[in-house]
């Protein structure tokens, strides 16, 4: 196991960041997870189906882009098939530099790495689809109350065992 993160001062930095978001990005209704929910693995990784979530603004070229022009943010989500032609991926997000993702989507949505892990027998299978989201949500209440449970439900219905999540 790698070293634990030194958490000294992180709560104060988080509180300051919330203040920054409220002052500069019309932030409101800050949400956190009330408790840390922790599920142990139900079966070995080598028998598990793994899905990916990225909040880097990933969607397909024929799906509606995320709304990035207003302070409202966009709590929506887009299903991205695992066998997607990666040249059809787009990254609509104005709060990080998307240039690396546009060159190589695997820097934020590691479909090729997941395929390698499956081929090596480390992971049982890739999920039939992954989820693209856009992380700029100054008011995260819809994300927590609606989108999060909806994404979880779609993965559960698809037989997903484990989910890996990646920011932009």
């Amino acid at each position: 196991m790698p070293n634990p993160v030194d958490t000294t001062g992180l709560q104060e930095k988080f509180d300051a960041w919330i203040g920054f978001v409220e002052a500069n990005h019309h932030g409101k209704n800050n949400r956190i997870n009330d408790e840390i929910a922790f599920q142990p693995l139900k079966k070995p990784l080598s028998e598990s189906t793994v899905a990916l979530v990225t909040t880097a603004g990933a969607h397909l070229d024929d799906q509606p882009p995320f709304h990035v022009e207003t302070v409202a943010g966009d709590a929506g989500y887009r299903q991205i098939p695992h066998d997607v032609d990666q040249s059809k991926l787009r990254f609509t997000h104005t709060h990080y530099d998307t240039s690396s993702a546009e060159i190589d989507p695997n820097v934020v949505l590691p479909i090729d790495r997941l395929n390698e892990a499956v081929a090596a027998g480390r992971v049982g299978a890739a999920a039939p689809f992954h989820m693209g989201m856009m992380g700029f949500n100054p008011d995260p209440s819809e994300l927590q109350d609606v989108s999060g449970p909806a994404v979880a439900g779609q993965f559960s219905d698809a037989g997903v065992d484990i989910v890996l999540l990646v920011p932009g």
Binding site: P2, D15, I32, V107, F155, V163
Partner: protein, 91 residues
């Protein structure tokens, strides 16, 4: 804000019964939002799995996430040893 969004979706997925792990480039946000398993890597925003077209970097980070899933017996927030510069030293 991507990190708060990741953390809230991660919490929803765990509460629905599926184990998760996430990457973080902003440890204070990941810490504040409270998640089950996360790995902090000191890479720039937009590059959580390293530089584009350098799959050897992404493989290390992806493998570290899989390790975290297998090794964590309770909530864990770890820091990966990789650095943006001199990445060849990782191999």
């Amino acid at each position: 804000m991507c990190h708060r969004s990741v953390g809230l979706v991660q919490g929803a997925i765990e509460r629905a019964g599926m184990p998760t792990a996430s990457l973080s480039l902003r440890p204070e946000i990941t810490f504040g939002v409270r998640v089950s398993r996360a790995a902090y890597v000191r890479f720039p925003m937009g590059n959580p799995f390293g530089e584009p077209d350098h799959p050897e970097q992404g493989r290390l980070v992806f493998g570290a996430l899989l390790d975290l899933l297998e090794d964590a017996t309770g909530p864990e927030f770890v820091e990966l040893p990789y650095r943006w510069k001199r990445w060849e030293k990782w191999l």
